[in-house]
Subunit: 431 residues, 2 copies
C-alpha cells in the first residue's frame, strides 16, 4: 500500500492520489458490448443461447428457472443461511419502508390543488452477479424495494453455473423478496435481453444492479439508446476510511480488506491524522491479507490503494467530499458529531463496531450504491428508485380566475400564443 502525506503533495499529486484505478471503459469493451447487444436484438433467444454457450459454457433451451429448480434450491440452502436471509430481509424492509415517499396534495391558490401521486414502475429487471462470488445479498437489496414499491412485473437475471443451474441462495433470496421469475442469463446479454425483450425474456422499463465491466457498459448503452432506464452508472467498489488515533488498527485493516477482496480494481483509501495509526494499519493489513482465501485479488486492489496522512480530521472530510466514496467509514471517537461534515458519499458507517460488511448484508440499508465519484450527484437504490412520482393539478373555474392571469402574462412574455389562448378562452378574455 502506498503511504502519502497530503500536505506534502502538490495539486497534481493530490489529484493523482484520488484518481480511481479504472476511470475509462476500453473502446474494446464498448465495441464488444455493442456487438452482444446487437446480436440479442437481432437473434433473440437464439442469440442469447449462442452467447451463453460462449461465455458460460452452457446453452439451456429455457433460460427461465423452473419451479422444480426453485424447490431444489430451497433444499440446497442450509437452515442457518435461509434464516440469515429472512432476518436480513426483515431489517432491509423495515429501513426501506420507513423512507418511502408519501403522496401529498395542497392548495397553492384558492381553487387550485396540486399534488403528487406515486406509482410503481411497471416492469423492472434486476441483475444479480455471480462471477467470482454469487451474491444472494444483491437479490435481497433489489428485491425488497421492488416489492415495497409494488412493481407488478419483476424479473431477475443471474448467470448460470457450469452445470446449467442458478446459484440456490440467489434463488431463495429472490423468492423471499417476492421475485417470481428468474432467468439464467449473465453479462451484457442479460442486460440486452431485459432492455429489448426476447421471445422468453420480457422487456423492462428500468434495470438495476451491479456487475462487471460488461454489465455496467451494457447498462449505459441501453440507457443511452432509450430502451430502458438504469439505476445508476457503476464502477468498481470502493471504501474510504477516516480513522483517528483512537481507532482499532485491526478493525480498520479488516474493513479495508473487505473492500479490497471484491475485485482487483476495487479501491481502498485510509485517511488519518495519526502517523502511528497509519503504520499500525499497514502492519495489520499485511498480517490479515495473508490469511484470506481471496488474497490474490485483495493484493491487486491494495496496489492501487493509499494510506494518506492528513493534518486534521476536518481536512480528511474535505478530501472525502472531493472523492465522494461509495462507502465511508468513520472510525472516529463520537463519530456522529462529524456527520454534518459529510457532503457526498453513498453510505456512511459510524464508529468501531459498524464495519461495511454490516451494511453490505443486514443493517437494513441498501448496498447498491454510487461508485466512481457518482455519489456527488447520485444516491443509492431505495424504494423511490422503483417508483414514478407524478404531478397532478386541478383548477376549478375559481382557481383559473385566481392564477390564469399570471399564466397569461407569462405566456405572452414568452411569445407562446396558443398557451395564452388556452388560458384566455377559460377566462373569457382576449389572449
Amino acid at each position: 500500500m502506498n503511504t502519502l502525506i497530503w500536505n506534502e503533495l502538490d495539486a497534481a499529486g493530490q489529484a493523482a492520489a484520488l484518481t480511481r484505478p479504472v476511470q475509462a471503459v476500453a473502446a474494446q469493451t464498448r465495441d464488444a458490448v455493442a456487438g452482444l447487444i446487437a446480436q440479442v436484438r437481432s437473434e433473440g433467444d437464439a442469440g442469447l443461447r449462442a452467447i451463453t454457450q460462449r461465455f458460460d459454457g452452457v446453452a439451456p433451451d429455457s433460460f427461465e428457472v423452473s419451479e422444480s429448480e426453485f424447490v431444489a434450491a430451497e433444499a440446497a440452502v442450509s437452515a442457518e443461511l435461509r434464516q440469515a436471509m429472512v432476518d436480513a430481509i426483515a431489517r432491509i424492509r423495515l429501513y426501506h419502508e420507513a423512507g418511502m415517499a408519501q403522496p401529498y396534495s395542497l392548495q397553492t391558490a384558492p381553487g387550485v390543488t396540486c399534488g403528487k401521486i406515486i406509482r410503481p414502475i411497471g416492469r423492472v429487471g434486476l441483475y444479480v452477479p455471480a462471477g467470482s462470488a454469487p451474491l444472494p445479498s444483491t437479490a435481497m437489496m433489489l428485491g425488497v424495494p421492488a416489492q415495497l414499491a409494488g412493481c407488478p412485473q419483476v424479473i431477475l437475471c443471474t448467470p448460470p453455473r457450469k452445470d446449467g443451474t442458478a446459484d440456490p441462495a440467489v434463488l431463495v433470496a429472490a423468492r423471499l423478496t417476492g421475485v417470481q421469475r428468474v432467468f439464467k442469463l449473465g453479462g451484457a446479454q442479460a442486460i440486452a435481453a431485459m432492455a429489448y425483450g426476447t421471445e422468453q425474456v420480457p422487456a423492462c422499463d428500468k434495470l438495476f444492479g451491479p456487475g462487471n465491466s460488461f454489465v455496467t457498459e451494457a447498462k449505459q448503452q441501453v440507457a443511452q439508446d432509450g430502451a430502458a432506464a438504469i439505476d445508476m452508472p457503476a464502477g468498481p467498489s470502493e471504501v474510504l476510511v477516516i480513522a483517528d488515533a483512537g481507532a482499532n488498527p485491526a478493525f480498520v485493516a479488516a474493513d479495508l480488506l473487505s473492500q479490497a477482496e471484491h475485485g482487483p480494481d476495487s479501491q481502498v483509501l485510509l485517511l488519518s491524522d495519526s502517523e502511528q495509526m497509519i503504520a499500525a494499519v499497514a502492519i495489520e493489513v499485511e498480517k490479515q491479507v495473508a490469511q484470506l482465501g481471496r488474497e490474490g485479488i485483495a493484493r491487486q486492489a491494495l496496489d492501487a490503494s493509499r494510506l494518506i496522512r492528513v493534518e486534521s480530521i476536518a481536512q480528511a472530510f474535505a478530501i472525502s467530499n472531493r472523492y465522494a466514496p461509495e462507502h465511508l467509514i468513520l472510525a472516529l471517537r463520537q463519530p456522529d458529531t462529524w456527520l454534518d461534515q459529510v457532503q457526498a458519499a453513498g453510505s456512511v458507517f459510524l464508529g468501531d463496531y459498524t464495519p461495511e460488511a454490516l451494511g453490505d448484508y443486514c443493517s437494513g440499508t441498501n448496498h447498491v450504491l454510487p461508485t466512481a465519484g457518482a455519489a456527488r450527484a447520485y444516491s443509492g437504490v431505495s424504494v423511490a428508485s422503483f417508483q414514478n412520482l407524478i404531478s397532478v393539478q386541478s383548477a376549478s373555474a375559481e382557481g383559473m380566475a385566481a392564477i390564469g392571469p399570471c399564466a397569461l402574462t407569462l405566456a405572452r412574455a414568452e411569445g407562446l400564443g396558443a398557451h395564452a389562448n388556452a388560458v384566455a378562452l377559460r377566462l373569457g378574455v382576449q389572449p
Copy 2:
C-alpha cells in the same frame, strides 16, 4: 390531423399510432455534438468563443452576465411580468417545499440505528433555452428546487441574443430564485462548459433543463462520459388528452395547440370515446390554428398528431399508460375518480379548467418532465433531483452482537472471507 379508430387498427397499426415523430438521434447530430464537446474540452473559453460566434453570431470576451446587465434587465422587465414571476415562484416554492424528503432514522435491531441524511448536490448547472422563445419559466422551474435543496453553487446558462445580451426576463427569473451566476452560452457548448469546466465556467456535478436536439444529445454524451449527471433524457414535448363527450371542444383544441406550438416535432394526441367530440375538436383546431402567431410550427406538429377514437375511457387509459405522455390532460367529468387509472405520465391536468399552460407556468408543479415515453421510469424535476440521499448506519458493540452473526453467515455463503473477518474480529469469534 389524422383521425383513427383504435379497435380497427391491428397491432402494428396501434404501435404506429403511438410512435413518436422523432425517436432516434441522427448520427450526424451525434458527431457534431461530439465535435463541439471535444472543442470546448481542448480549447476552453477560446473554443466556446469560436462556437458561440458560429452559432449565435456574437463572441463576448466574458460569458458571465455582469451586475450592470442584471440591473438593466430589471429595468427592461415590466412590473406586470415581474409580479407574475414573483407570484408563480411563490406557488412553485410552496408545492416543491411540501414534497421535500425528510431525513429519518430508526432502530433496525437493538443497538443498530439506520437512517438517511440529505445533502444538496454541490455544484449544479441549469440550462434555459432561448431559441424560438426565451423561457424565463424554465429558469423558475429549475431555480426554485435548486434553492430549496440549498445547493451551494448554482450556475445557469442561456444563449446570448444577437446583440450579445441575455433575455432580461430570464435574468430576472434567475435572480428571483437565488441564482447569482448566469453565463451567456447556449447549445451543446454550454453543456460541455458546465460538464467539464473552462477558465470562466465552473464544472458542475449535475446538469438540468430542456433544450433542442443538440442540447439533449450533449447532456446524454457528458452523462455517458461520467463528467456530470443529468436530470433526465429528453425529447420533444408532447401532450395526450383524454376527453369524454362532455368536454369543451374549444378548450381541448386550445390545449392541443399549446403543445403543438412548442416545435414542429411536438406531438399531440387526443383520445375520446365520442365521435362527435373528435369531429368538433378537429374543427376547433382548424379554426384556432389559423389565429396563431406560431401557426407554421403548430401545423407541422399537427401533421404527426392523432385523434383516436377509443371504445371506452378505460381503454383510453390503457393506451395512455402504454404511451406514457409527458403531459396528460383529463377532460373528463369527475376527473379525479379516474386518477387511479394513471400509471405512467409526467404531469396530470384534471378537468376543463386546468389547461397544461397552468402547469407550464404557475400552478406550482414543475414543467421539466420526462418525454418520449421516459415517464415509464423517470419522474419530473423536484427538490430531490438536487439532493443526495446518504445512508448512515451505526452499530454499538451490542448491535454488532445482535446482527453480526447474520452478516457472518451471509459473508461465508458468498465466499467473502475478508467480510467475514471484519465481523468476526468485532465479535471475537473465528471468521
